[in-house]
Symmetry: C2
Subunit: 261 residues, 2 copies
């Protein structure tokens, strides 16, 4: 009999989030699962890590049993500490989620869910991030099945180095999901603004609000696949080099730029 794969599960909604629980349960059907996740909600933390203060971790119990380790830090901290210190052996896969809200388009940059997966790949482990479109009463079961199928597939077939699968699932009944689309990250902008208000002592404060505006409308884009009723799977990586423009700079800027130091 083949050995069960070892999967590290994390998220950014915190270790007590229902999306994490449903995900861990689905993965346990074929894998050994270790949960290491932030002790509290860590949305929009981006790829933050804690370098100036120490980290703490404690066992987190659920239904009378140890469910995992809660880390007083960010999603990236949790995965790093999990792989480097808490787990006895190197995991075969990192799965992050299930996030309560999509991580598509420009939001991928702010996403703590994606960041936990990213930290896995930085440490050389294949990784998957899973997010479910926000609704008031989310049903994480279909997204957990998607995550489990994909996790099992990746454990068998692998992923290229430094590659993350960013999976987003539409919040529609399972029977209405049309299938999977392999997509690219869409372009978008936040039409955000700050509400300026006064506190009880009459001092200013600012509160961020706004909407994401989609700039890409092709069917092969993450957001549009979801709108069309598909699960979106985007392979992402963290080689941020803008290669086309690098070529252009080398051709056209070389002679024009003069530095006097």
């Amino acid at each position: 009999m083949q050995k069960k794969p070892l999967i590290l599960v994390s998220n950014d909604d915190g270790i007590d989030a229902p999306g994490l629980y449903v995900l861990a349960k689905a993965l346990k059907k074929f894998a050994e699962v270790k949960v290491v996740a932030p002790s509290i909600q860590q949305s929009a933390v981006g790829h933050a890590i804690t370098v100036r203060t120490p980290l703490r971790a404690h066992e987190f119990r659920r239904d009378g049993e140890v469910f995992g380790y809660a880390v007083d830090g960010t999603p990236a901290d949790s995965v790093k500490l999990g792989i480097r210190s808490i787990l006895k052996s190197k995991p075969d896969l990192v799965v992050s989620g299930i996030n309560d809200g999509l991580n598509t388009a420009v939001n991928v940059i702010y996403s703590g869910t994606v960041s936990a997966a990213t930290e896995g790949t930085i440490l050389g482990i294949p990784a998957i991030a899973v997010s479910l479109e926000y609704t008031q009463h989310p049903d994480f079961e279909p997204a957990a099945k998607v995550a489990a199928t994909m996790a099992r597939f990746v454990c068998r077939n692998g992923l290229p180095k430094d590659t993350i699968l960013n999976i987003n699932v539409p919040a529609i009944p399972a029977g209405k999901i049309k299938g999977v689309r392999f997509t690219r990250q869409g372009r978008s902008r936040w039409d955000d603004k700050f509400y300026q208000r006064k506190d009880p002592k009459n001092r200013n404060y600012y509160w961020l609000a706004g909407n994401m505006r989609i700039l890409d409308h092709d069917g092969d884009v993450d957001q549009i696949a979801l709108k069309d009723g598909f699960i979106s799977v985007t392979p992402i990586h963290f080689d941020l080099t803008h290669r086309d423009f690098l070529e252009k700079m080398r051709r056209e800027w070389e002679g024009k730029l003069k530095f006097k130091l």
Copy 2:
């Protein structure tokens, strides 16, 4: 006479950091400069933004004059609040730095300095991030001259949409700098580990330590350009799609993956 460009300056080392001061001074020679920066050190925050609590900003004075606005938040918060609320008009450029330490290879992902620049491009403003190699007694003047030359060039010639110039300067005397290289982001790994210790109450805590290991040794890579005595300029963007692998997935995975929901 042409109108002076308006430049928003930020960083992640905090509004009182010497690198920021030297940068602002150099840019003031040809531009109107507005400083909006975190009130305290924000290293390794990645692209975090504050969404769950309000933000505060206050005038920061230096040498008896208003130097800029200090924001009780992250670098990305500072740039967002600066552009959306504090500045009276849209800036022509965002410049972030000068960071006291390089932001190359995998560190670009963790970098608050790059994150401030990224937030500029997310809001549609061209942006530059500037970092100086760490030394005990840094001289920010050469890096400030590089930043000013590049800023002036970008104000005149523009940048493609969603593109950031990530500039890293070696910590060698100005006369020894050999010139500029247009580079790509290098591959690297952190050989990090956690020191596990006991606090005075005998409870465990973990402290992160480690070294970055360079995996790319070509001359066109950021780290190697610096080692060779050049200023490294890498154009980066935040379309994270791994396009080559996306093609492969479409060709090879389509039939193999079966989801039961």
